[in-house]
């Protein structure tokens, strides 16, 4: 089986548009959750979100015709440009060799106006973002969109990993993107999943805290350039990390606590099995926890099940406390920040946490950054909709194999 390495990454987020900027903002505990300005929110219970203020795709893509691209497509195309630059895939190389794109996104309707026009089929459906990006960047390889809620992005990375492992593809951009969109925002708000803050912005959301009462939606795009390790080495590319394994599970009975915990645990267990690792080899964990009352608890319980009583010693961070729930982009942003943690040895804290819940299975979360020295890290995505996905990354090695 071929090994899969990360040779570059690109991110556009509410806390920065480079790995470095994002990581240092997270490590300093910056909170991007503010009143949303993209669309009216008067009738909503939660007007807060992690919006990317002043986002302008031309900054990354130059003066090209971006009119047919909706917000998600623009975020994605921008992150793709950054990831291609970072990994050294020039336009000329892309002309000679196929680079593909595996995108995870939740949004299936990203329009702010509901009037139909002739571009309806170009801009609206969930698949449009990946295709628009392929056209802009001449990505002629496999082009697949995966949509499984907030686990979409990690599932895209997992799928891309399998395609490279089996030799179906050699170089794939993989990750996720979701722009804040009116439809989703109303959907989450009306379902009662968004946090209700009686305080100033900046206090919510609070993953793992006793006062948590919902998530805040965010937005962003993050892509990893994944390549066959041997071929990356041949072209002289630097391996930032290796994808060691992945796993997923589906919670068919979302109402049952046991089933919910089991599915998160199964997802992590399958990733460990796929990586050929035992739990003690995981030295840090980027949690999916986003402030949702049940989801955070289930994930924490799954840590206890999976890490055999050692979970309290495992450094865990929940960066959605600062970025909000960026849906399809969330897992890839976590993965990308974990690359930074592996590079500089600093794990961001989980901000706002102050009150531990009685009988909470996992009381120990640091609110501030920590120095650690991890070789392997695990990233979780746990959906409100039953989807779970886990990914294991290992620190980059100069000469894989």
């Amino acid at each position: 089986m071929r090994r899969v390495v990360v040779t570059g990454a690109g991110v556009v987020s509410s806390l920065g548009d480079s790995l470095d900027a994002l990581h240092s903002a997270l490590c300093r505990g910056h909170n991007a959750i503010r009143p949303v300005e993209l669309f009216p929110t008067e009738t909503l219970a939660c007007p807060l979100g992690g919006e990317i203020k002043g986002f302008d795709a031309q900054k990354y893509l130059g003066k090209r015709n971006l009119r047919p691209l909706d917000r998600t497509s623009r975020l994605l195309a921008s992150a793709a440009q950054l990831a291609l630059d970072a990994s050294g895939w020039t336009a000329e190389m892309r002309g000679n060799q196929e680079v593909g794109l595996i995108l995870g996104t939740m949004s299936s309707s990203v329009r702010n106006e509901s009037e139909f026009d002739s571009s309806a089929l170009e801009a609206e459906p969930a698949y449009a973002a990946a295709k628009q990006t392929a056209i802009l960047h001449n990505l002629r390889g496999i082009n697949t969109t995966i949509s499984t809620g907030n686990s979409s992005g990690l599932k895209a990375i997992a799928h891309a990993t399998d395609l490279i492992r089996s030799g179906r593809a050699r170089s794939l951009l993989a990750g996720g993107a979701d722009g804040l969109c009116l439809d989703s925002f109303y959907g989450f708000d009306c379902a009662g999943l968004l946090c209700r803050s009686e305080h100033e912005p900046g206090d919510f959301p609070i993953p793992f805290d006793a006062r948590r009462n919902g998530l805040a939606l965010g937005e962003g795009a993050a892509l990893l350039m994944l390549e066959d390790a041997e071929l990356a080495k041949e072209r002289g590319a630097r391996a930032l990390a290796e994808i060691k394994g992945h796993g997923c599970a589906y919670n068919r009975s979302p109402g049952s606590e046991e089933s919910s915990v089991q599915s998160v645990a199964s997802s992590m267990r399958r990733a460990l099995d796929d990586a050929g690792m035992v739990p003690s080899e995981i030295q840090c964990l980027s949690a999916s926890a986003n402030g949702s009352p049940k989801g955070d608890r289930h994930e924490a319980q799954a840590f206890v099940v999976t890490f055999n009583g050692n979970s309290h010693r495992l450094p865990v961070t929940a960066i959605k406390s600062m970025l909000g729930e960026t849906l399809g982009a969330s897992g890839p942003i976590q993965a990308l920040d974990l690359l930074e943690t592996m590079r500089d040895g600093v794990l961001p804290g989980t901000i706002n946490v102050a009150e531990a819940e009685d009988d909470f299975p996992f009381p120990w979360v640091s609110t501030v950054r920590r120095k650690i020295d991890p070789l392997n890290g695990l990233v979780n995505s746990v959906g409100f909709d039953g989807h779970c996905c886990s990914l294991i990354l290992a620190r980059g090695v100069e000469s894989p194999g």
């Binding site: 009738t43 047919p68 196929e98 593909g100 794109l101 939740m106 299936s108 309707s109 509901s114 139909f116 026009d117 002739s118 309806a120 089929l121 170009e122 609206e124 459906p125 969930a126 698949y127 449009a128 990946a130 295709k131 628009q132 392929a134 056209i135 990505l139 002629r140 390889g141 496999i142 082009n143 697949t144 969109t145 995966i146 949509s147 499984t148 809620g149 979409s152 599932k155 799928h159 089996s166 179906r168 009116l182 439809d183 989703s184 109303y186 959907g187 009306c190 379902a191 009662g192 999943l193 997923c248 599970a249 589906y250 068919r252 009975s253 599915s263 199964s266 909709d385 039953g386 989807h387």
Partner: protein, 407 residues
């Protein structure tokens, strides 16, 4: 290690010409059309008025655990097709290890009717009426999730919304999942419901034919939007043999490519289509001249049919003229995300029965479309290897190879 061989053992379809494998296949071979005046919504504001809708569909017949009132139409179709496929495969759900039973589905528009409802509220300034259920009804991924919840499948669950080629993508993904041993059984296919959104999009592009769908005909006038679902039961050959299952055919391999050319126009040389077909042949170890049937994307638009013909001729050379290639969209219309899944089912049936469904409404040959399109009547023909081609807006190309299963 020898690669696991993956076979098709069950077929479930919900289509404008019939629900269930037998009725569908008989109507297909008889050349029946499902194209009628649109009933789902008022089309008086449009210049075109015909579509291929599923009539008399009763979701409650297929639901034991979920309530039809809380499911969008595409989810309802998908669950029905999934149940039909399992029954066709003679699989008892109780006999499965549900943690290793998965779902991989494709779609173009997800649950568009739920999005339309939201749009109407938005336009009428009634967003306060959206309601708590919206989030459980509209996201694209609910289709695969609803199948899993209805059947209690806890294995791999994935939704691939790569539009009009999505069914092939979903089947290809399930094939990889089974080959790598991540599941014992996969339900794979696609589902889409007829919608104002899709109809409007294609109408605005001028792509919808006024009367009917005539793929490869000289005077073809466009596509006809349709709806439906197709689901296959896929499992390793060893498990099919162990339980004495009927095997329709074996998945040989697939090819995927992207034109990266234009959002709604295909590459002028069919470059991406050729790359996808080539990969599918390579992966399945098939020589071009061994292909005995091609299920065409064949939408009935002027460009698609011409470019598809060109791509097949570029790859298959002289053999192209000897390989029958038909488009069932002449009868079903374009069922969007379900199309290539239903067409994959047709390939499996063609391989199993050695019968090829026709391209109906093909009266006047087009000089640019000069292959054997099996005009107007079904044909008896030994189908050793079938290739299923699907192309989507944005230039997503997916080819799937199915062949007779030799044990």
């Amino acid at each position: 290690m020898k690669q696991r061989r993956i076979v098709v053992t069950g077929i479930g379809v919900v289509t404008p010409i019939g629900t269930g494998r037998e009725l569908f296949w008989n109507n297909l071979l008889e050349g029946r059309s499902g194209i009628r005046p649109v009933q789902s919504f008022d089309t008086s504001a449009y210049g075109v008025h015909r579509g291929a809708e599923v009539h008399d569909f009763r979701p409650e017949n297929y639901l034991s655990n979920l309530d039809a009132a809380h499911l969008g139409r595409a989810s309802q179709f998908a669950i029905a097709a999934a149940r039909l496929a399992l029954a066709d495969a003679n699989v008892e759900i109780a006999s499965l290890d549900l943690k290793r039973a998965g779902v991989s589905m494709g779609t173009t528009s997800g649950e568009p009717r739920e999005v339309e409802r939201f749009d109407d509220l938005f336009i009428n300034k009634q967003l306060d009426r959206v309601g708590p259920e919206f989030l459980k009804l509209y996201p694209t991924h609910v289709i695969a999730a609803h199948i899993a919840r209805e059947l209690q499948f806890a294995g791999v669950n994935i939704m691939i919304p790569t539009a009009c080629a999505a069914g092939n993508y979903a089947i290809a993904h399930a094939f990889d999942v089974l080959r790598s041993g991540r599941a014992d059984l996969m339900l794979a296919g696609g589902s889409d419901s007829f919608s104002r959104i899709t109809f409007t999009g294609f109408a605005q592009l001028g792509a919808i034919a006024p009367e009917t769908c005539q793929p490869f005909d000289r005077y073809r006038k466009g596509m006809i939007p349709g709806e439906g679902a197709g689901v296959l039961v896929l499992e390793p050959l060893a498990s099919a043999l162990r339980r004495g299952a009927r095997v329709y055919g074996e998945i040989g391999g697939y090819g995927l490519s992207c034109d990266a050319h234009h959002m709604t126009a295909a590459h002028p040389n069919g470059d991406g289509a050729v790359r996808a077909m080539t990969q599918a042949l390579d992966q399945s170890g098939t020589r071009p001249e061994e292909v005995s049937y091609i299920s065409a994307h064949g939408t009935g638009t002027s460009t698609n049919d011409r470019l598809e013909t060109l791509a097949v001729k570029r790859l298959f050379k002289d053999a192209a003229y000897r390989i029958p290639m038909s488009s069932i969209k002449s009868m079903l219309g374009h069922t969007m995300g379900a199309a290539s899944a239903i067409e994959a089912a047709v390939c499996a049936l063609a391989v199993f029965h050695d019968r090829i469904p026709p391209t109906i409404n093909l009266e006047e040959p087009d000089p640019d479309c000069d292959l054997d399109y099996v005009p107007n009547s079904a044909r008896q023909h030994t189908v050793q290897v079938a290739m299923n081609n699907a192309y989507a807006f944005g230039g997503n190309n997916a080819s799937l190879v199915l062949r007779k299963c030799e044990v």
